[in-house]
């Protein structure tokens, strides 16, 4: 019996291949979108970490020679023998015709995880790297190097400008520095019970890790990408739900016949569940594979970055990690379960003798739309409540959920109302029929339209978020990394000497004076700044009083960071106690995306008064020609290379990495829209067969099939238009919640929201285009429906 019943159930798919394809493809696409976003998120994170790490200098603790330029390799070996996980770096310059190239030699085998290639895809590359000697450099540098060095130079645009990256052994040969090293990177994880470094290597000084600057900003970006992942999942669920419930709807008559012929309901439902599980696993598998392809296509840059570093694939680059393919499969199976549970429930509840025709859509739908609308309204009210009174990250995400689900559920009701409104305006009989028929279509298409709503809203939200983020990030980098070079020393005694050198060579010198203190009971870094053109021109404030820098310069005001202001509950013009006995008004609030602590800025003289014994250990230096300045400092004044950080390089590189992430999100936007269009296409195709009885009378009464096809197309565009118009405010709300709510909860600061109307207009056009394209084929099919099919409706025998 089971085999016979199963044959009948499956025969449905054989006869309705399109439906089968729609279901499998819908499920696979939903899974693909989810796992693609997961993969991209993970890879973006990995690549950013790797990029930050190679630049380098800041991420890890390092050991530098106390005196002189070089470390003896024996010291390195002694440290390794003692159990210290350290990795050698040798830096130096090679002269070329046009100038100099900075050669950085690293040891891929001992470098800390995020720098070193963890696994090799092509061993030959590693061999090349280690034995024959290969250098990696950006195109211009590579060109300059060819002919100068005997090693092979591989062009890689992702290597920082002016730098050639190579293996430590090659660097030693090239730089004629046998058995010598510049510095040692200390891996973050070290075994227990190690001897003191000072005991093993007394000649080395420890330079602690520096804050890479925008770590927290990056974290925030990833959090937002995760939210995007959830959104794409929601889009997927709607698509799966749409395809599966339509597929079940079409098998109602078969279910009735099977039961009348004696197949028990429990057996039937059991069979359908097993069938679904098989489909879900099949489609999930395809989806994960597809997600992998999507990620691979979108990520060549990221992969290239990592490959460029050592000429070998880094393990982090798109491996089929169990957590994401498993999560992809889980999404497929759970999504199917969720989507099918309603349909199965309907079948279980359906009286055996219920009409064998697919339900009359519109009859049930008015009530359903109102009920969904009520649920949606409740969700939106809860959301508003959370927005006003709620606190905490969980509630912030709950707010997002309320907003999205509420908006999706209210959509059918709004569409119905819009169509009814248009119906009231209709003059001719044809338009009356058109609007009435559109109203009947709304329930059948509403899941696909919900998917379109979420996809468009996600696109608006994410691109607003990403673009706002970019604007903020660029401003922030301009502000914080304004000095072209940073010079850092260990010995306070050398500070006045260094400052004198810098003053003689550079345009503007900015000593970095800071102490850790507490202001208004919040742990805070207090800075003494030399107010000059750099601060005046580059710093942007979230809020400011008059003449900020004049008042700070004269010691009459303080600038505090947003974190400090928010935590301490203070704002512009409030008085804060900066040090015992010193209270100053706040002249401005500055955004700080790089730091969990608070920050406060006062003038250098005031600072030196408060902390006379403090000497600056870091200097920011302004220069029109940082490369020359750097050479002058190292060659004429003997300042070690490792003490100088090239900010413009870091800035360019960070921007580059972010640019790539933006490209990826842009591509994802297009993809979500494509998937939503696919959902529309599939629901239209599936609806087409159900709709023949509704269209036949209109045809019989004198509308040509061609006209019917045109109207079908118009209908899809109208419905998509209403949906998109709703999606834009929803997307903006989404971005607003992410930027000014989730961020504040997670990181303590708000990102400003910028609007990009041109972008939204383009998106709307895309959404309409997608809907029109999706409707085109069903419309053409409709226009070509053989009259015999339409006549069958009247024959009343099937």
């Amino acid at each position: 019996m089971i085999a016979t019943a199963l044959t009948a159930l499956l025969s449905h798919w054989r006869c309705n291949r399109l439906q089968f394809f729609a279901m499998i493809a819908g499920l696979a696409l939903a899974t693909a979108l989810w796992s693609g976003v997961q993969a991209i998120n993970a890879e973006a994170r990995a690549s950013y970490d790797a990029a930050a790490a190679t630049l380098g200098e800041g991420q890890f603790d390092q050991l530098l020679p106390r005196s002189g330029e070089k470390i003896d390799q024996a010291t390195y070996i002694a440290l390794r023998r003692a159990g210290w996980q350290v990795s050698p770096v040798l830096e130096g310059h090679v002269r070329t015709e046009e100038g100099r190239v900075r050669v950085v030699g690293v040891d891929p085998l001992t470098a800390p995880g995020t720098i070193a290639p963890v696994g090799m895809q092509e061993d030959s590359n590693l061999d090349d790297f280690l034995t024959r000697g290969v250098l990696f450099a950006a195109p211009d540098v590579a060109e300059a190097l060819s002919g100068v060095v005997s090693q092979r130079v591989i062009t890689d645009p992702s290597v920082a400008p002016g730098v050639a990256l190579t293996d430590i052994g090659v660097a030693q040969t090239l730089l004629d520095a046998h058995n010598q090293l510049s510095r040692l990177i200390i891996a973050p994880m070290q075994p227990m019970g190690l001897p003191d470094i000072a005991a093993v290597a007394p000649d080395l000084a420890l330079q602690p890790a520096q804050d890479a600057g925008a770590d927290r900003l990056t974290d925030s970006f990833h959090l937002n990408l995760t939210a995007f992942g959830l959104l794409s999942f929601a889009v997927g669920i709607f698509i799966v739900h749409g395809t599966i419930s339509l597929a079940f709807e079409q098998r109602r008559s078969m279910v009735r016949t099977l039961r009348a012929l004696g197949v028990p309901l429990t057996t039937l439902i059991g069979l359908m569940i097993s069938e679904l599980v098989v489909f879900a696993v099949l489609a999930g598998g395809i989806g994960v594979a597809l997600g992998y392809v999507i990620a691979a296509v979108l990520l060549p840059n990221v992969a290239a970055t990592l490959q460029g570093l050592y000429g070998a694939s880094v393990a982090g680059t798109l491996q089929l990690r169990p957590e994401w393919w498993l999560s992809g499969m889980a999404i497929a199976v759970l999504g199917t379960g969720f989507a099918a549970s309603g349909a199965l429930w309907n079948i279980a509840q359906m009286p055996l003798l219920a009409s064998a025709r697919p339900r009359a859509w519109a009859v049930a739908s008015g009530e359903t739309a109102r009920r969904l609308g009520a649920v949606a309204l409740a969700l939106l009210v809860i959301g508003t409540g959370i927005a006003i009174w709620g606190q905490g990250l969980t509630l912030a995400f709950a707010l997002l959920a309320c907003l999205l689900i509420g908006a999706a559920l209210i959509l059918p009701l709004l569409l119905r109302s819009a169509v009814m409104l248009a119906d009231g305006q209709a003059r001719s009989a044809m338009w009356q029929w058109f609007w009435a028929d559109t109203r009947q279509q709304v329930p059948g298409m509403s899941l696909a339209l919900m998917a379109l709503l979420l996809a468009t809203a996600a696109n608006v939200g994410v691109s607003t978020m990403v673009s706002s983020f970019r604007v903020t990030f660029v401003d922030f980098l301009d502000q914080r990394l304004a000095p072209e070079l940073f010079i850092r020393i260990e010995d306070p005694a050398q500070s006045p000497y260094l400052e004198a050198i810098l003053l003689s060579e550079a345009q503007e010198v900015l000593p970095l004076l800071s102490v850790e203190t507490e202001i208004a009971a919040v742990p805070t870094d207090l800075f003494g700044v030399r107010v000059g053109p750099t601060y005046r021109e580059n710093w942007l404030f979230l809020d400011e009083a008059e003449d900020v820098w004049d008042r700070v310069e004269t010691g009459n005001a303080v600038v505090v960071s947003e974190q400090l202001a928010r935590r301490a509950g203070i704002w512009t013009d409030d008085l804060v106690t900066v040090a015992p006995g010193l209270s100053l008004p706040i002249a401005a609030i500055v955004a700080d995306y790089g730091n969990p602590l608070g920050q406060a800025l006062i003038s250098e003289p005031l600072f030196r008064n408060l902390y006379p014994e403090m000497q600056p250990l870091s200097f920011g230096v302004r220069s029109n020609d940082p490369t020359t300045l750097r050479n002058v400092l190292t060659e004429e004044h003997g300042i070690p290379e490792s003490a100088i950080t090239d900010q413009s390089r870091i800035k360019a590189f960070s921007l580059g990495v972010f640019e790539r992430t933006f490209t990826v999100t842009g591509a994802l936007n297009v993809l979500t829209l494509a998937v939503a269009a696919f959902a529309i296409l599939m629901s239209l195709l599936t609806l087409a067969s159900i709709r023949v009885p509704q269209l036949a009378p209109a045809w019989a009464l004198g509308l040509t099939r061609r006209r019917l096809g045109q109207l079908e197309l118009l209908r899809a565009v109208v419905l998509a238009m209403v949906t998109t118009v709703l999606a834009i405010p929803l997307g903006l709300m989404l971005a607003w919640v992410l930027l000014s709510y989730v961020n504040v909860e997670a990181f303590g600061w708000k990102l400003p929201l910028y609007l990009f109307p041109g972008h939204y207009a383009v998106l709307t056009l895309f959404a309409l285009l997608a809907a029109a394209l999706a409707a085109l084929w069903p419309a053409i099919r409709l226009a070509r429906t053989p009259p015999s099919d339409l006549l069958k409706v009247f024959a009343n025998d099937r």
Binding site: M1, A8, S11, M254, V263, L353, N796
Partner: protein
Amino acid sequence: MVLTVHDVTKSFPGAEGDVPVLRGVSLSLERGETLALTGESGSGKSTLLHLIGGLDRVDSGSITVAGREITTMSDTDRAALRRSDVGVIFQQFNLIPSLTVEANIAFQARLAGAFDADHAARLSKALGLTEHLAKYPEALSGGQQQRVAIARTLTARPKLVLADEPTGNLDEATASEVLGQMLRLVRETGAALLMVTHSSSVARRMERHVNLSQGHVV
């Protein structure tokens, strides 16, 4: 007795409380007997047929099919009874659209695990379906489709055939022809037949005739 219906009542929820449709219906059917059930539209003929087929539940009374009381049976047991002992033919939508005519004919017998290919072939031939076996139902006319439904039911050799206006959608000539074939084959297989019909000419060709009126059999 293949079928006994005793004092069955059934009402449906209406706008103002329950509306009684059957108010105590009793009848019985012997092996091989044919019975026409007539009555006005809305008199409850289909309702009674569904109750006998175990497709719906009685409010009170008892129904035995092939000696087994079905009113107290579980859904699963009633489904098993339908597979093996009862064949139901509706006015339309009888066939599984995605299976060929041949698969449809074999379907119920296969469900019951009692498929006899020779028997099926004889029935197909007798009903003039041989040349349509590879087609799908949508390619058949209404009369042909009903013949497929009849073939399917009889292939499973049920003890009781329940038919609800099986020829209601057919023109008179075709209806008469299909009915003739059906009666002949039912007699051959020794099944009892209970057929709902509006038509007095159809009713006259059956051995017995009952009329349903005001919820009672007359």
